[in-house]
């Protein structure tokens, strides 16, 4: 377990739970939930903040000493918009980590694989550390890692839907084949969903709505942190295999000696 490290772009990330900052009832609640989650990577929508303004209400509530700020391009409809947003954000803030989101449909917010790949190829060349949000498409995941993205972030189900691992089988393939960390993102609505994703072998999970919209976001953040840790421990330890027949813990023929 001690050697089980999550490394992204050469940086060791202590927590396998990443947390989003939208939908909270206040910046104070958000800050408390972040703290309770133990997260190190915190994603923030560029549309919601003045990234160049350190006094921006939301940014001011996120301790930059404690958290790695991961700006996202939520709202971008195509490659061009994502590029423009990413470049402006980096120029204003100096942050070169980027969660790349290209979601032309404002309703289900499903990612556009083609535009995401195009943007990722350009941004990686420009020196960005790119963490792309994608549909659970194993081939796209390979293309992105070939392009040099730091992770792939397949969705479990549509953003904010809380439906859990609707794309489980494809995510399993991505996890099996990926050469970069796999962060399961979007749709994880319960701590048990997060634990399940981590048990499958995901390197990390990203959660926002399920924490922010909970009756007690702080307690829920803690629950997700424990779930992510439990799931990872189970994966690393190696859960007992599932058998079709019973395997008695006290065998009836145990008295026989060879």
């Amino acid at each position: 377990m001690n050697n089980d490290k999550l490394i992204i772009a050469g940086r060791e990330i202590k927590s396998r739970l990443f947390v989003g900052t939208g939908k909270f009832s206040s910046n104070r609640v958000m800050a408390e939930a972040l703290s309770a989650s133990g997260a190190e990577i915190v994603t923030v929508a560029l549309r919601r903040v003045d990234i160049e303004n350190e006094n921006d209400d939301m940014l001011a509530a996120i301790d930059r000493e404690k958290y790695l700020l991961l700006p996202n391009t939520s709202g971008a409809r195509d490659c061009e918009e994502a590029l423009r947003l990413a470049r402006l954000a980096r120029a204003a803030s100096g942050i070169n980590w980027l969660k790349l989101e290209v979601t032309p449909d404002p309703y289900y917010l499903l990612p556009d694989g083609g535009e995401t790949l195009k943007a990722a190829q350009i941004l990686v060349k420009e020196g960005f550390v790119v963490l792309p949000y994608i549909n659970a498409d194993p081939i796209l995941a390979k293309r992105l890692q070939d392009a040099g993205t730091a992770t792939v972030m397949p969705l479990a189900s549509p953003i904010g839907s809380n439906r859990g691992l609707a794309t489980r089988e494809s995510i399993e393939i991505i996890i099996e084949q990926a050469t970069v960390p796999v962060v399961v993102d979007a749709g994880l609505g319960r701590p048990s969903h997060a634990a399940e994703a981590m048990e499958m072998g995901a390197d990390a999970v990203l959660v926002n709505t399920a924490i922010a919209s909970a009756n007690d976001p702080v307690a829920m953040a803690r629950a997700f942190a424990m779930a992510a840790e439990a799931g990872r421990t189970s994966f690393v330890t190696g859960a007992a295999p599932v058998l079709k027949t019973a395997s008695a813990s006290s065998p009836l023929t145990g008295f026989l000696r060879d």
Binding site: F24, R47, A76, L88, P104, D105, P106, S213
Partner: protein, 382 residues
């Protein structure tokens, strides 16, 4: 599947305004059991049949159940947030003669239009109150407010606001394209009433062209506009039939212009200068207003739901917990009302006269975060 590809034909096919009695009778015949069945279905999806049930009198007895579902759905989709925006009127010149409007061309009063410098000064006053989302409005008179003016104004405001939207007279697609290129990417336009015959009797001037107005959001979407606000002026026609028509329009826009986000507004007729207190037969009660809003949310999970200062502060405070996602605050409905000409004539009287800070405090007290910025000029090339 309806294969018609223009909204006019799609709406015409429904016959909501030509076969009113048939629809009213269908609404009337909805039973309690129908409503229970509908409320047992996962909310957020639209069909005309479903909306008929939710808008019915029988549905009105289930308002609390509808409210609980709408609240939960909105919380899931939008979180505990309320986006704030502010309207800025730049002109009250108008060439139309709409019976219900204070800007009616026949009304005699000193009309005014903000010069570019005045508009920027007005915008500065608005920005200093903390607003980052601005809606530019004007009376319908292309001679006084044209595309060049709006494009120039948008360029001047881009550094002050994160999103610039318009509520003006309908333009052609090229006009919208020019505005989009200048950094405007949102539009609100109300059909006023979806009842064609009634529409004809209420409007004179260019606005009398029902179809051109109806197709406006589509032209804006084709030009790249990302936010399309639609609505009907509540009080002109039966609110249930108006809502059914509005929903058909919304569903059409979502299907055919899938990259634009739809939002609903609920403007109720308000007193206005020189407009008699006409005996509008269809004034909508608070209860009906809420039922309309909830029914739309239960059919359109991700649509924006906008409430303006036409409504009272107290009423808005309660609406917040239902399914509203966006509110105006501190609104002035006269050109220059914020700074440069506070005496100019208003389009209508606002009810909620709270300051932006008071509205924000009210939102916070209700357990929501007032969101001043939820977009970025970087999205538009401008």
């Amino acid at each position: 599947m309806n294969t018609k590809t223009d909204i006019y034909s799609v709406l015409d096919d429904t016959g909501i305004d030509t076969r009113q009695d048939e629809y009213l009778s269908r609404i009337q015949s909805v039973t309690e059991a129908d409503v229970r069945r509908e409320l047992a279905i996962k909310p957020g999806h639209f069909s005309l049949e479903r909306l008929i049930v939710l808008l019915s009198e029988a549905g009105g007895a289930f308002l609390e159940d509808m409210a609980q579902q709408a609240h939960a759905l909105t919380l899931q989709r939008f979180g505990k947030t309320m986006q704030l925006y502010v309207p800025m009127y730049v002109s009250n010149y108008c060439i139309n003669r709409c019976q219900y409007c204070g800007y009616n061309a026949d009304h005699k009063f000193n009309r005014s239009r903000l010069t570019m410098e005045q508009a920027v000064q007005e915008a500065d006053a608005i920005a200093s109150a903390g607003f980052r989302h601005i809606l530019i409005l004007s009376g319908e008179d292309p001679k006084h407010i044209d595309v060049d003016y709006l494009a120039e104004l948008a360029k001047r405001l881009r550094s002050k606001f994160c999103a610039i939207e318009i509520e003006i007279y309908p333009l052609d697609t090229d006009g919208y394209k020019r505005l989009f290129d200048a950094g405007i990417d949102g539009l609100s336009i109300y059909q006023e009433t979806y009842n064609r015959r009634l529409y004809e009797t209420l409007h004179a001037g260019p606005k009398a062209d029902y179809r051109y107005r109806l197709e406006t959001p589509s032209r804006a979407a084709r030009a790249g506009f990302r936010r399309l606000g639609i609505g009907a002026l509540l009080g002109l026609w039966d609110w249930r039939l108006e809502t059914l028509s509005l929903s058909v329009h919304a569903a059409y826009l979502m299907k055919h212009h899938w990259q634009s986000q739809i939002s609903f507004s609920f403007p109720r007729i308000r007193p206005a200068q020189d407009v008699e207190d006409q005996p509008y037969k269809h004034i909508i009660s608070d209860r009906q207003f809420v039922q309309m809003m909830l029914a739309l949310r239960l059919c359109f999970a991700d649509a924006g739901i906008v409430v303006s200062t036409r409504e009272s502060s107290e009423f808005r405070r309660h609406l917040m917990n239902l399914c509203v996602t966006r509110m105006s605050a501190g609104s002035k409905t006269n050109p220059g009302g914020y700074a440069v000409n506070k005496e100019a004539v208003c389009q209508f009287e606002v009810d909620d006269k709270s300051s932006p800070q008071q509205v924000a405090a009210m939102i916070e007290a209700a357990g929501y975060e007032p969101v001043w910025k939820d977009w970025d000029p970087a999205f538009t090339a401008g």
